[in-house]
Subunit: 213 residues, 2 copies
DNA sequence: CCTTGATTCAAACGAACGTTTGAATTAATT
DNA sequence: AATTAATTCAAACGTTCGTTTGAATCAAGG
């Protein structure tokens, strides 16, 4: 799932960065804390990644690229399966969400951490993150917009944009801030079963997307 | 709308903090930048607020308290108007969302900034923000959970928690990251008309909440 | 007018930060 | 085995940070 030409010190730094940044935030995580956790020398970060900003970008890209590739591949597959006809709404949503939710399944360690990082990326308005957001979020979303318009021909172009934005919000908030659900439900609801969560999210979003104007 | 016993230096600091933190984030905003923007002395922050963390909390509370009061007041009003019967789903959602969206209307300056701050609060996992989140987000949400269960008696307790979490995500993402909508739609959609946005959000969420299991 | 308390101010404090340096060490190549 | 390149390391650099200090200024009250 992840390009594993990266090894040794470089990989240790990336893993520690993922864990610590998810726990503390970008600015609050120092290179000293990262290198201490990774059990490497302080200067190793600058040697392997040149700068802290570049390290953050490398860490994010390592996770984002395979996710977005999986999303588009899944959508491609569903479109092929559909022949010329539009892909079913639920399938589109599955292609959009499943590759991310796969990360919280047992076996993909550090996956849960990454969901927090996604939230941090959108919230923290650092200049060097903007190109990544535009490329990995906005650009990829347009492909799903087209599929959505085909699936729901009654929706205007603008309305489709709004509702896809909403659907993104459902999923994003659900996975990135799942601790709020635990808190408000006093522990009765938890984001543990990825498949059950996916079903719930798709069910909610599909109804919202199909709603009469 | 906002308690205005605060004046002079203290108010200037709060306003500058709001603007700068929304633009740069918590850690990336220095007290020197804040005091320079507010045109007050550096030491004024520690004099009036003791510490930077306390300043952040004061700034957030100044906005959050009136919003949450307005939410509960609106829900109270709708419950009173409904007599003993359950409040209509759309009304519940309006009570939940309108007080926040009012902030982006012309006349409430700095309101837009605050929406970014909400996103930062959830994403940035600073320890001193956790109590505020639990109190102002989770605690208040439980009241709306009860109203929701009355409006949709077919929904199980757990399912209601999940879907309210989803609805929160729709609204939250829509207002806090509205620049993503502008970006993916290439400027065709914008969060300018608060009433239109509220209508769209409520429409989407109501359909999702009512969806068959 | 003088005093008292509240506020502002310039200056400095120690701590922590990202980054750089140059030597030491390891790995690879011939 | 000798040489070259890649990597690690301890130490330090300059900067910026939140906070503290003590004197200066202001606003009333007696």
């Amino acid at each position: 799932m992840i390009q594993d030409d990266i090894q040794g010190t470089k990989l240790a730094i990336l893993k520690a960065t993922e864990r610590l940044v998810a726990a503390k935030g970008f600015e609050a995580t120092s290179l000293r804390a990262i290198t201490a956790a990774a059990k490497v020398n302080l200067a190793a970060v600058n040697y392997h990644f040149a700068t802290k900003d570049a390290l953050i970008l490398a860490m994010l890209n390592r996770r984002l690229r395979p996710i977005n590739e999986a999303r588009l591949a899944l959508l491609d597959r569903f479109e092929k399966e559909a022949g010329g006809r539009p892909v079913a709404l639920e399938k589109i949503l599955e292609a959009l969400f499943r590759p991310v939710l796969e990360m919280i399944k047992p076996g993909s360690a550090n996956g849960r951490h990454f969901l927090r990082l996604l939230a941090l990326c959108l919230a923290e308005p650092s200049a060097y993150l903007k190109p990544l957001i535009e490329k990995e979020f906005s650009e990829k979303t347009r492909r799903f917009h087209r599929a959505l318009r085909a699936a729901l021909p009654n929706l205007s172009d603008a309305e489709a944009h709004w509702r896809l934005h909403f659907a993104h919000g459902v999923f994003f908030h659900a996975v990135a801030h799942s601790e709020l659900l635990v808190s408000t439900s006093r522990g009765r609801c938890r984001l543990t079963d990825a498949d059950a969560a996916l079903r719930r999210v798709i069910n909610f979003c599909a109804a919202g997307l199909r709603a009469a104007a």
